[in-house]
Symmetry: C2
Subunit: 369 residues, 2 copies
């Protein structure tokens, strides 16, 4: 298993701060997600049924002809590698690490590829795997470019897999409308934009033959009935979606501005997160954690970068971290980065602002931190 | 995919009766399940976390040293066959069909075995798979007998897999306390006794090495956060559990008596269902469906019996079914059976009673139906 953002409980224990005192910016989840009403009790009592309206609502929302509900994109990430013989898999790097991990675990030959080199590796790959927009770098590609890659891959029986977990704010860039074409697989999820990460609902949009194989491997009832009910309603709520798109766009810009004001100029972003590369990323991560603000730290490791949540063992470490970082070896600082999610309310915004001020004030000689 | 009970929506369409007008006795789910309170909104918004108390509550409730939460036993059923090389798998027959289906799909050699022959096939099997108490026959085995089979299997690297989906009413018969032994795998679920089939929460109780393999294949976050929260509370609610055990015991006896009064003498049972073998099972299934009562029909098919939900195409067929079954070929009637779940309230009890009366009144010449 890889480590992930959202490990708030773990951070709470390590830093000795109760869970409820933390400001968790470690995920890219909308902090003001779709408001879930009370769940009809029948949803808990009865087995989920396929013909409950979920697929119809999802087809309409995503503009995809064929799709399969899955227990979050993670279920598809775990299972897709089982549907191919050993393949050469090019994975956008840096990027959400579960993809590379799953393909490698299933015995495929996985290569991490920088965004600039994707076009050149297509010819030597069986599968090209992108997160789009990318997490954490925010990298984007044109629909034409993606469809060209798909055409070149599928001509040799290859696949283009696009994880569109953060696509909801820019639906015009989605490949869902093309996903009935063989060899094109688009993953969607209600975790980020809808803020329903706990519900475990995602969709695979693809050719029906592939969906049938996937369904057979996943088996029946993999998405819970309450989650199906919530997802059906959220996907149909166009008024909420429009308002959320507007709000998140404005808040993404606000977070970008706030970070830049503290000398943290984002190197990439999407409305739901800002990504900052900096040599001192780990120090800043820890200094903020000492103030109860959890961010997501990425440190390069071998050919693929994996996120790490290295935390000091106790609050005792915090005091020294606030005042200096001389105890940290310089070598590990290369290629580190931080991802900031959106604060959920004005108190949270003010808290982040104040924390960044206090940290930078303590290091007056440095441009950053 | 196999067909299953609980296909109420399908029945509603075929018989032209709205879903809400049906009395669904087609499952073995407690119709008065654990009362789910309102879910904290954070459960929907945040990714599920491993250290939220669920595993601790489950270990205490099941008396198992090591366990892994899964998205219903079905997730384990789909995945366990991937953890062994090609094996000879003996499956209790008749029994819940998903087990045999999954092992066969994964390339194993599966043989259906009657309860009486289990002891003799152990020596020639790598895996013995039981539902205990069995669904739909209600067959039971002593703990000593099961542990003896386990010892003999594990001596050769084999497995005993016991699906205890219906065990909650008789916890003293569970093998959970022994499940840390290598080669013993016990499946539990909150679907039946707790009446939380929609939540998709189950547990695999087994040796930690096997659980780690299973966890790696299933990946993170396979159980939704609201379901984890509900399950944690339900597993800790001893007062509800005690009351439910008493109530279900009494209701099981009541259903047995009711059926017997109509000439339907159960051939097997557990508190949550009664199982009746009868040549006319399909006719009675259809006659009851015409009155909006859904039962579960089993018809033998090849070496393993699979449940079927054969329904007439329209309500037009219903009139004739109420008055006679001469149009049905006699040959298909062999080895058919019906499973009746518990009615949920007095109105439902009265409705079943009246429906059975009306059906038997129309066939005065026959002992049954």
């Amino acid at each position: 298993m890889l480590e992930h953002g959202g490990k708030l409980r773990q951070a709470a224990t390590r830093y000795g701060l109760p869970v409820e005192d933390w400001l968790d910016l470690s995920t890219g989840i909308n902090p003001n997600g779709w408001p879930v009403p009370e769940i009809p009790s029948a949803c808990w009592a009865r087995l989920p049924e396929d013909d409950d309206g979920l697929e119809q609502a999802a087809r309409s929302y995503y503009g995809a002809e064929h799709l399969l509900p899955v227990a979050g994109s993670q279920a598809a990430i775990q299972t897709l590698p089982r549907l191919r013989p050993q393949s050469r898999v090019a994975v956008l790097d840096p990027g959400y690490a579960e993809h590379a991990y799953a393909w490698r675990n299933a015995g495929h030959e996985v290569t991490g590829v920088a965004a600039e080199r994707l076009d050149e590796v297509v010819q030597d790959s069986d599968v090209l795997l992108l997160i789009h927009p990318n997490n954490p770098t925010g990298a984007r590609f044109s629909v034409e470019q993606l469809l060209d890659w798909h055409t070149r891959l599928t001509a040799r029986g290859g696949w283009l897999v696009v994880d569109e977990a953060f696509m909801d704010i820019t639906p015009e860039r989605s490949l869902c409308a093309y996903s009935a074409r063989p060899g094109l697989i688009v993953l969607r999820s209600l975790g980020k934009f809808f803020g329903l990460a706990g519900a475990r609902v995602g969709f695979v949009c693809a050719h029906p033959a592939l969906l049938a194989q996937l369904h057979s491997l996943l088996g029946p009832w993999s998405v819970s009935a309450p989650a199906r009910w919530v997802a059906t309603s959220a996907l149909a709520d166009r008024a909420w979606q429009d308002a959320a798109r507007q709000r998140l766009g404005a808040e993404g810009a606000r977070l970008h501005t706030l970070l830049a004001r503290h000398g943290l100029n984002p190197d990439g972003s999407c409305a739901l997160f800002q990504w900052v590369r900096m040599p001192d990323a780990q120090d800043l991560h820890e200094a903020l954690a000492c103030q109860g603000i959890l961010t997501r730290l990425f440190i390069e490791s071998s050919s693929l970068r994996f996120g790490r949540s290295q935390l000091p063992a106790s609050r005792d470490t915090c005091a020294s971290l606030r005042f200096g970082r001389s105890q940290l070896p310089a070598s590990r600082d290369t290629c580190a980065s931080l991802r900031f999610g959106l604060p959920g309310d004005e108190i949270a915004w003010a808290r982040l602002d104040a924390a960044l001020s206090s940290v930078t004030v303590r290091h007056p000689d440095e441009a950053v931190l």
